[in-house]
């Protein structure tokens, strides 16, 4: 059953002025629960505008958006609830930290939901732990943390609300390779543990290849496709035309296939490529040995 659904969702910026621009154009989507979804598209493709509809920050110019079968704009008094259920973390969320301590900052959203103090405490500790933040960090000022920890504190504030859908806009921007990898593993663990749906907006094809099951691809305000990650990477030529590309290793593997080597389709991480190439090499050695023994 779809947790989030859009019907001909359209959004026009500055309608009726010379700057009128359609940012989202008749998008029809059905997003299921409990999965990691990558959101990719060139700058200006409409992906951020689309994401801002999912928690009611923007109201569609036309078309509908349903959260668990309910039109989120049917009753505006329920929008607050929608925003608790769909969490949105902007790019560079650490600029939004403001509290005296990390604990208070993470607790801010949960407290607004009206939870009891004991439950707030539990949520804050559990979330901090999922993101690998040490307990003694919680009593420090968020502004005294390192860049990576600041970002985790900001993300934890939204995760602690346990939204059914969590949208993260470039959560790894500016992090070094090790920091990126750790952050993505922690996000995936959070997703598995909570059974929620995580939408990961990213410019890194390598990251979405490794960490997502499905990809939502936007291009020029339209939905280009919403499919299994491996199926999307089969469309390397089309992706290139959209200003995107496939992971470096995937393009080498596809070229080998094209040149007639007997490799499986859908190799898009280094680990997959390593196993497939080793298999091929071992087969070759074996057939040579068989030939020699005859």
């Amino acid at each position: 059953m779809a947790i989030l659904k859009t019907e001909d969702l359209t959004y026009v910026y500055s309608a009726g002025t010379p700057f009128e621009k359609t940012a989202v154009d008749h998008v029809n989507l059905e997003i299921e629960s409990n999965q990691m979804i990558g959101v990719i598209g060139h700058t200006g493709s409409g992906k951020s505008t689309l994401m801002q509809h999912f928690n009611g920050l923007l109201q569609p110019t036309s078309g509908k958006i349903y959260l668990e079968q309910r039109d989120i704009w049917a009753d505006k008094s329920r929008l607050r609830e929608v925003r608790f259920q769909v969490g949105l973390v902007f790019q560079y969320p650490e600029y939004q930290l403001f509290e005296e301590t990390v604990y208070k900052d993470i607790a801010f959203g949960v407290r607004n939901m009206g939870l009891q103090e004991t439950e707030i405490r539990e949520r804050v500790f559990e979330t901090a732990q999922m993101l690998g933040m040490d307990k003694n960090l919680l009593e420090r000022s968020p502004f005294a943390l390192s860049g990576g920890q600041k970002r985790r504190a900001a993300i934890a504030g939204v995760m602690a609300m346990r939204p059914k859908i969590l949208i993260l806009d470039e959560p790894c921007a500016g992090l070094d390779p090790k920091g990126r990898n750790l952050m993505l593993r922690q996000i995936r663990d959070y997703q598995k543990k909570t059974g929620s749906t995580v939408l990961l907006v990213s410019h890194s094809m390598e990251d979405v290849a490794e960490f997502t099951e499905k990809l939502l691809v936007m291009s020029k305000a339209r939905l280009f496709c919403y499919e299994d990650t491996k199926l999307v990477f089969r469309k390397s030529e089309e992706l290139k035309e959209l200003g995107l590309r496939i992971p470096q290793i995937a393009s080498v593997m596809q070229a080998l296939r094209k040149h007639g080597y007997d490799l499986p389709e859908d190799l898009y991480t280094v680990e997959q490529a390593r196993q497939a190439v080793l298999q091929l090499l071992q087969n070759k050695v074996r057939s040579r040995e068989d030939g020699a023994s005859c």
């Binding site: 070094d176 390779p177 920091g179 590309r245 992971p247």
Partner: protein, 287 residues
């Protein structure tokens, strides 16, 4: 003898002033840069890698005198950054491009933004016109000269920022993660522009990046860790040390990692592979 070194650091040490003002903090541990000595040749293309907090951006900021060493010296085209009278000349020789294009663009029209620096250098108007046009052509943004920067994509804005630096006719451009906020196409546009400026105009490039594929395009890779320069070699020599790079919190290009894994499994493939085409060729030989 002509000095071919555009940048020269001699036993450079640095820590942030807030750490030195309070003597309690001034311990051995908070040096951001420790005894860095290096030379960068005119016309070269160098990439600097390091994890967050390693000191690489701090080093870059010494290269156009935004920061001054606490101990030791840094020279740009032979001028010591310590001497204030050199400041203008140094910033003209060595221009800097930062991560976020929106923080670097000052004017509301592309060509006015590019003209900003030469105007401040007091260059005659006709010469400014020529420089602005040349700079915009060099980054392939000439046809956008009358646009508002707000209408441009991230990659286009970053190329305008680069044009703003080129209009000063620098010998060297230092770019601090110029592609971190860009989509794949924007990244490619910026990288192509950088390589072209390096090859065709002989501009020295110092590129700080977290993308290993970008560093692989340089002729020299320097790795900074905890304020020390620990590697300084051609990219194939640096990236073939896969385990060491990962231990440093860095990575290697995917194709290099695959070649290294196969090599480790006992197959005859060089771990010094850097590009897709090199990898494809080597795999075809192997298979």
């Amino acid at each position: 003898m002509a000095d071919n070194r555009i940048i020269r650091a001699e036993h450079l040490w640095f820590r942030y002033p807030s750490d030195t003002e309070n003597p309690e903090n001034a311990t051995e541990n908070n040096w951001i840069l420790k005894d860095i000595s290096l030379e960068i040749q005119k016309g070269s293309f160098t990439a600097i890698l390091g994890h967050n907090g390693s000191g690489k951006s701090t080093l870059a900021k010494h290269m156009n005198a935004i920061l001054i060493p606490e101990k030791g010296d840094l020279f740009v085209a032979g001028m010591n950054t310590r001497e204030e009278k050199n400041l203008f000349a140094i910033r003209q020789k060595a221009g800097m491009v930062f991560q976020n294009p929106d923080n670097q663009i000052v004017a509301s029209i592309v060509e006015e933004d590019v003209a900003f620096a030469p105007e401040n250098l007091g260059i005659p108007p006709a010469e400014i016109r020529r420089r602005v046009d040349d700079a915009l052509k060099a980054v392939r943004m000439y046809e956008y000269r009358h646009h508002a920067p707000s209408q441009l994509s991230g990659g286009q804005k970053q190329r305008v920022a680069i044009a703003g630096v080129i209009a000063m006719q620098p010998d060297c451009i230092i770019l601090d993660e110029p592609t971190a906020m860009l989509d794949p196409q924007g990244r490619q546009e910026v990288m192509e522009t950088i390589r072209k400026l390096n090859r065709e105009q002989g501009i020295t490039i110092v590129l700080i990046t977290h993308y290993m594929e970008e560093a692989a395009l340089a002729e020299r890779v320097i790795v900074i860790d905890h304020g020390e320069m620990i590697l300084d070699d051609p990219p194939e020599k640096v990236f073939s040390q896969v385990e060491r790079m990962k231990k440093l919190g860095l990575d290697v290009p995917q194709v290099t990692e695959l070649a290294w894994e196969l090599n480790r499994a006992g197959f005859r493939i060089s771990p010094e592979i850097l590009t897709e085409s090199e990898c494809l060729e080597a795999l075809e030989k192997l298979l």
